[in-house]
Symmetry: C2
Subunit: 289 residues, 2 copies
Amino acid sequence: MKNIESLNKHTLGIIGLGLIGGSIAKSLRYKGFTSKIIGVEASEKHAAEALEAKLVDEITNINECVSRATIICIAIPVQATLTIAAEILNLISADKVVFDVGSTKSSLCSLIEVHQKGNQFVATHPMWGTEFSGPSAALHNAFEGRACVICNKEQVSVDALEIIENLYSVLGMHLLYMNAIEHDVHAAYVSHISHITSFALANTVLEKEKEENTIFELAAGGFESTVRLAKSNPAMWAPIFMQNRENVLDVLNEHIAQLKKFKACLEKENMDYLWELMEKANEIKRILK
Amino acid sequence: MKNIESLNKHTLGIIGLGLIGGSIAKSLRYKGFTSKIIGVEASEKHAAEALEAKLVDEITNINECVSRATIICIAIPVQATLTIAAEILNLISADKVVFDVGSTKSSLCSLIEVHQKGNQFVATHPMWGTEFSGPSAALHNAFEGRACVICNKEQVSVDALEIIENLYSVLGMHLLYMNAIEHDVHAAYVSHISHITSFALANTVLEKEKEENTIFELAAGGFESTVRLAKSNPAMWAPIFMQNRENVLDVLNEHIAQLKKFKACLEKENMDYLWELMEKANEIKRILK
């Protein structure tokens, strides 16, 4: 209770009112958590939608947002985050806290580490998302029950860390701590590769299956869930893949090798090995119920 | 109503009480559709579960099932279906109808086509399934609102076709008609390839990510939906892939080629082409809302 009361004094600034920034605004407002939310949004359409939906109380520019907000959230594509994070750290006074919510962490943490006000920046990755984008896709209970990763917490001041830990507790998230390099390896395995396979699967089927009505009618056969992520926004995902390219390439090579094993089984009509590969894949049941 | 009344006189025999056979039993019973359901099931465990859950009224052997049932459903793996279909056609009298529910149709239809009682056999593919298996996974509303494909209907007698069309209407399915060869091509694109990519993705991540707790904690990042099908039963899927191997190989080759395009983008840091590939994949939104 103490924590929520103290956070209620804060004015929240959110840079980027897409799915994640919008959902943070909506969820924190829903929890009755902050007195005022100021947004910064480059797209006029998204800015208007965010105001209309009362996600934010007002839209302003970065300078004004940074001067008035006490907690600043950066929720824009990861490449742009690098530039904006440095710009904001240069501007802020000592009583403010900045955090980001991006899906890659190594480059950002390297930048923060050498900035003189880097201990006011918390690098986080709340593990939630959908295939939809923009403020109209924002949900008020988006993060509930999910994990949030905080990277390189030893770089952050005790006060700044506590404020952001409290914010995520209020969102109903449980916290995991990792170093940024380790985070990016794991994110490549359990998130980034799924997006690549899904984009590639959509292109495969769009290439091969010219009868679109048939796709639609028959999609119940598993296609819909494996291809869901192919609806994701390139503006968000292209920079993630590029920034985490070494890890993504490593796991993508492994994935192509695994697909080639299935291919070899079919070419050689090797039923035993095919069965073995599938039984091995079934082990995922042990981990994901 | 006429149709349901006439079907109520039928005794239904189901060969194979797994997810699909069990769900057909459960759904038809739920709809108050048939007076008696007789099951045949090789697994003692599944047979006991099906009796316990009242999916069937009794368990018997194939000969007795075929002599007493008026409609016989074959719901076993597609390779075994070939043998059992021929066996049942050899046994049945002229007043009976047989149908199957398998995910491949060409080999089966070739077999039926040359059988003297082949016009009593309806080759169908109800487009529904989950990653779970066995009679305990059966649902009473499994097929509602989904499509069911009927193949090579010109091979079937008018009466037999009408009975099975009615049965699927009662299950709430809408019917599509295709020839078997065309069906197997489409099924490879919109169902079989999704299962292969999902199995291969599970093996990729199990190979690379040794920290299982991390997979579990971070899986919200899209992994869970793309890997869901990797929980599917090899006993069902290995014969499907093998029976439809030429079509599956064709689409698998295309899929590997599509993944290699993503790989090339990352290797060459070609952001423009990466973006283009993802925008193209986004077109799937046009087809799947």
